[in-house]
Symmetry: none
Subunit: 187 residues, 4 copies
DNA sequence: AATGAATGAGATTTCATTCAT
DNA sequence: GATGAATGAAATCTCATTCAT
């Protein structure tokens, strides 16, 4: 088993497993995610998974919790960089059109999480928390009502562009107009 | 018995299986959907599943295809009932806030489909088609750009309200304002 | 896998598994009884075990229940053959010294059952029932008090002779004297 | 540090492990006794078990050997306190009815030992020795034949009362009568 | 000397699929 | 055509034991 040395204390072992799990989930879906696939992907022996995590469910939970944390960080970072409302509107357009939040890989994981959340309490909480987080990032610049609407727009529109990504990317001008409309009319 | 044509015992057998599959998917998730669970739920003998469908994947595909058809029908119906733009705006607000499209059961299935679509070509096509269908329903009343934005708004906002359904339902006034903003400003 | 033909309907399959389980328990002890060992012993494929029994616990339970039934039958048969009290005393002596009830194989299983009964409710009930059954067989010939004492004597003495079986077998004269003493003095 | 002899950190470590093992065996049975469970129960680090004992089998052996020693001590003590035959008869009645030898905890362990003895030579010897020990305690007061019978009576009767402990405790008068009968008639 | 993270062998279990009836 | 008992491949999980520290 190349790459799987016997190391007495590998502090990053758990993180490697979580990272491997997310890769496997993205590639095959939760419904075909197995211990073996994660172990191989993380270059870790099979027994290591159940040593560090009670069961597969625990791994999935941790993986999705990690995903939310990562996305929240990115989202907050993008919005936090805006120093005035004009920049904030620009940031929202980026989030809708952006290649990072909207990275295919991220979307696949997001869908898997939304689906899994309906069958797992811990993930459900995290998934519910996520809209609050993203809206919080917007609240520094927009009215509460605008925040709600913008947040929905970002979620829905980035999703739709993900679906249609092979039929041409997003049109920033239209997105900007929509953002302006919501911000101006929901004061 | 010459001349006595053999009549299929249960002509609705396939439909019952598909319906059962959707129930199981909603309850347990694709990742825990099994032949046995579907058979029990559909009150159909186990062997019936592999008799009518090549394998489990085929059942899931058909189930999700059926789901899209059902949802499209509802969505188009709701928009089709609108006779002028004012009614169409009202219809969009309904879709965002509505209890039918937004029925928890439907949402769970939608998420499962979005997740599964990333790993299955047939379902992927159907899921991609879905935004086109929903936007088509809007196009009789709004500009193409408004359609895109409204469609995103419906998808994202209804999702967020589903997530937060225990913290109070949608506020129709705000939703109406957002819809008006987009329609007025994306002519 | 010699001996494991694919048979559509093998009505004795469950019985064969139970019989195999008892053999494995007798040979290796419950603590080393595995699905695989039982399957091999019963000449049955591995998957067959969990098809017929929910889990290993279910197999052990059924096996011990079967054991009690078998033993009860033998015990009752031996006592039932006695037509008067003199024959009944003789039968009790046989039970203490006997090679059948006291067959090493049976004893090993009895000990395993007594041990397992403390950790399993179903087996506990059966094990508790067993003294009642054996005493019931005696009750046709002796007073209730004599029954209790004789029953204890049979259980304890046959066990001790099993322990010491390599240091010489039981002495029928002494056993008969003990039986007579209890019967005569507990009227 | 010349001259500073290294003192074992915890000289009672082995004893604690044995005691913990007996507790785990009583609670879960040999078939579910694990290193980890013993370590936790004994409040001892996991590695300590394999440091002090070759393997799990060695722990079980030592544990059962310890059990026999403890029980023998109690049994001999109880009989040794008897200064004449009348007191000895009383002591035997106590053993049958007694709450100490017959303590549920002890019984569970005894059954586990009898079961395990059939699959382990070291424990088998100890278990075989046990009747000899108990009979030895009796031999100061009764004939060899009475010893055998009384010993069987104690073993069997205390067991049966353990089984039926929820249906009322032992009846000392009947037990005393049985003891008297055997002692008087097996001189 | 003592520990506990780590591993792999093997245990239990699940289940899609086959196929005799 | 239709069924469900049966199977085996592969999944999850357990745990005795090792060994770097």
């Amino acid at each position: 088993m190349a790459g799987a040395r016997r190391v007495a204390n590998d502090p990053r072992r758990k993180e490697r497993i979580i990272a491997g799990a997310l890769e496997v989930i993205a590639e095959r879906g939760v419904h075909r995610t197995t211990h073996r696939a994660i172990a191989e992907r993380a270059s870790v022996p099979l027994g290591s998974l159940t040593y560090h995590f009670d069961d597969l469910t625990a791994i999935l939970e941790q993986a999705f919790l990690h995903l939310v944390a990562t996305m929240s960080e990115y989202y907050a970072g993008r919005m936090g960089a805006a120093r005035d409302q004009a920049e904030a509107r620009e940031a929202v357009v980026d989030l809708v059109c952006g290649t990072e939040y909207a990275a295919p890989h991220q979307f696949v994981l997001l869908f898997e999480m939304y689906a899994y959340a309906n069958h797992n309490e811990a993930v459900r909480s995290a998934a519910r928390e996520w809209p609050r987080v993203s809206r919080g990032s917007l609240s520094a610049h927009f009215s509460p009502q605008a925040c709600r609407a913008l947040d929905a727009l970002v979620e829905g529109w980035s999703m739709h562009w993900y679906f249609e990504r092979e039929q041409g990317g997003p049109d920033r001008v239209v997105v900007a107009a929509a953002v302006d409309a919501l911000v101006d009319r929901l004061p």
